[in-house]
């Protein structure tokens, strides 16, 4: 009986050692891959910081109307944000590769799904970037034009236009990421319609003085018009 117990124990230890021996190389590979990833990520982050600072990305983004990006960035620097994103992306990639070295069967499906999702993320990012740029550009243009037309709700109009484009952009981004589905579409429709209604009211109320002036103009003679306006040139 003791011999049987001993044999079972020995077999268990052997199995355990064999299991560890099979598992250990994967762990060592994972550790090595992670260390390499950290090193590569660290070098890439340093290179990105240097090159983006040389390009003066922070100042240029502010000129292009992306001043808000600084609010989301560490130390208010989009350069640091991009460098950090690249750093953690490399780390994540290294982790995935390391996990696949640990157990190819376990991680292969995960990796496949993740990489299949990457183009959607990329497209969504581009849509978001372009949408924000267009929103800011249009908002600024509407603000200036409305002020020059002496519309008192110029700021509201500008905000409305900006959010109109941002809501559209957000909906398109979420659509690309496959998040939300029907709920997002419904929310978008409600928001968009609400903003359009608010804009219509803003235009109607804010430009009533302009409409009054236009109606008055229709009743004036040419001579009255000539006398009323300065000739700037």
């Amino acid at each position: 009986m003791w011999e049987n117990a001993n044999e079972i124990l020995n077999q268990a230890v052997v199995r355990m050692i064999r299991g560890v021996a099979e598992f250990l190389p994967g762990v060592i590979a994972l550790v090595v891959i992670m260390v390499l990833s950290v090193l590569i990520a660290w070098v890439l982050r340093a290179m990105l910081r240097r090159s983006l600072r040389g390009f003066q990305l922070d100042q240029r983004l502010e000129q292009w109307g992306f001043a808000g990006l600084a609010d989301w960035s560490p130390a208010r620097s989009p350069t640091l944000l991009i460098a950090s994103v690249a750093y953690w992306a490399i780390i994540l990639l290294g982790l995935l590769v390391g996990l696949s070295a640990l157990d190819a069967n376990l991680t292969s499906v995960l990796v496949m799904r993740l990489f299949a999702y990457v183009p959607n993320v990329f497209a969504a990012f581009i849509i978001l970037f372009v949408g924000v740029f267009i929103a800011r550009f249009l908002a600024r243009g509407v603000l200036i034009s409305a002020v020059n037309m002496q519309i008192h709700s110029a700021r509201l109009l500008s905000l409305g236009v900006k959010w109109l484009v941002m809501v559209l952009t957000g909906a398109m981004t979420l659509e690309h990421l496959g998040i939300g589905g029907q709920i997002v579409r419904l929310a978008f429709g409600i928001l968009f319609g609400g903003i359009v209604l608010a804009l219509s009211l803003a235009v109607g109320l804010g430009s009533k003085e302009m409409v009054t002036r236009s109606l008055r103009q229709m009743g004036k003679t040419e001579e009255d018009e000539a006398n009323e306006y300065l000739h700037h040139l």
Binding site: R140, L143, S145, N148, Q150, R155, H231
Partner: protein, 427 residues
């Protein structure tokens, strides 16, 4: 050389028959059937009366009028002055853009006329606007004689105007051009010019004709090129400035954008020249000045001040990207002040224009937006200036204007230092 579509078909032969001329007088038109006849009659009478011994030609450049402008010119010129009719190219952008003055496609028209003048080796080219009130027989003499007899290269018209008239010239173009290039050209943009053969060649050798710079404000470009390149420039009195009642309410913002856009672009081009210029000197002036009615011109100053206040309220964030804190503070104080004490300091106004020119150069924001954001500031200056000179006589007005121009000259070192070190531009 632009491609010219000539009409009638024998114009090329006419060109060869005409040979060389002394004066080429050009009139650009586009759907101007109502106004063209008196202009052509004045042009012919002017050439006949003042230059009977010289070989002259009248060049009518039309942009494809759909009315009977071309036919009317043929009828009125049929029995007299030698006439060349050409069609200048009218690009789609010219049809879509409303120029602040004159016909659409004016740049193409001028180029066509100057090219023909160059072909005919004209000693003087005179460009007239199709405006019967301002294109008189006297205009022809005033624009051509300084070129033919005194060898000036550019003659710019000088109209007698009401003190509130031409605010953009009074408050922006005259002081800016004076401080930049050192020439006291009272009205640097005009609808008519007298140009020497030398300057015609210089204009045509430049490749700016089809750019966005030249299209809307070709006259400003022509004046600033002549002044910055060292050509001999003078001005001639052409009497009182008349305005069409049909001009209607101007789009101030569009007008300001076109003019300032051209001015700032020209500043970029000629930076090596104006950075070396110090002070200013008068330019020769010909012709007798005429008096102008001092009847009050009704202007709604309150509405102009409200425009400025609205801009101050809503565009302060944009102004903050262009103007330093000290200027912003002055503008905030101005927005809060009562209407009767509304005064914009001359030095502040000069610095505002200089800061905007720099912001235009380094593209702090989109250029269209930048120039649009300038409108309330300009209107603020207009209101301030009107309130200051509303009770002033002609002499007092000129003194006040001189004070304004000296402020621009005084602030020029500010412009130069910011222009040379834009990296330090950080409002």
């Amino acid at each position: 050389m632009p491609e010219l579509e000539v009409l009638p078909q024998n114009t090329q032969q006419e060109l060869e028959k005409l040979g060389t001329v002394d004066i080429a007088l050009g009139v650009p038109t586009f759907n101007n059937a109502e106004a063209i006849v008196p202009v052509i009659e004045s042009a012919q009478a002017g050439l006949k009366e003042f230059f009977p011994a010289l070989r002259t030609v009248l060049i009518h450049a039309d942009g494809g009028s759909r009315d009977d402008t071309v036919q009317r010119v043929l009828e009125v010129a049929r029995d007299s002055t030698r006439l060349l009719q050409v069609t200048f190219p009218m690009f789609p952008v010219d049809r879509l853009t409303t120029p602040y003055r004159g016909i659409p496609g004016r740049a193409s028209a001028y180029r066509s006329i100057l090219t023909l003048a160059q072909k005919m080796q004209a000693r003087a080219a005179v460009l007239l606007d199709v405006d019967p009130a301002n294109a008189t027989t006297h205009s022809i003499e005033a624009l051509a004689r300084p070129v033919t007899e005194r060898e000036f290269d550019l003659v710019v018209p000088y109209y007698t105007r009401h003190k509130f008239d031409g605010a953009l010239i009074t408050g922006v173009l005259y002081p800016m051009m004076r401080s930049l290039f050192g020439k006291r050209l009272r009205q640097p943009i005009g609808e008519a010019f007298g140009i020497s053969a030398r300057l015609v060649n210089e204009y045509l050798a430049n490749d700016v004709w089809n750019t966005d710079v030249s299209r809307p404000a070709i006259d400003l470009w022509m004046t600033s090129l002549a002044v910055s390149s060292g050509f001999r420039v003078c001005q001639s009195f052409l009497g009182a400035k008349a305005h069409h009642t049909r001009d209607g309410a101007p789009d101030v913002s569009a007008m300001l954008s076109q003019v300032l856009g051209s001015l700032f672009t020209e500043m970029e081009r000629s930076a090596p020249v104006w950075q070396r210029t110090r002070g200013s000197e008068p330019v020769p002036t010909f012709g007798p000045p005429s008096s102008v009615s001092v009847d009050p011109v009704p202007v709604n100053v309150k509405r102009i001040i409200e425009s400025f206040r609205l801009g101050s309220q809503d565009l302060n964030e944009i102004w903050g990207r262009v103007l330093p804190p000290a200027t912003l503070l002055e503008l905030k104080k101005l927005a809060r002040i009562s209407d009767d004490r509304f005064r914009l300091d001359d030095d502040v106004w000069a610095r505002i224009l200089y800061d905007f020119s720099l912001a235009y150069r380094i593209r702090v924001i989109g250029r269209d937006h930048l120039l649009g954001a300038m409108t309330p500031l300009y209107l603020g200056w207009v209101a301030s200036f009107i309130l200051q000179v509303q009770d002033a006589g002609p002499q007092e007005f000129e003194t006040r204007l001189e004070t304004l121009c000296l402020a621009f000259e005084r602030q020029k070192p500010y412009l130069i230092s910011r222009w040379r070190w834009p990296d330090r531009f950080n409002p």
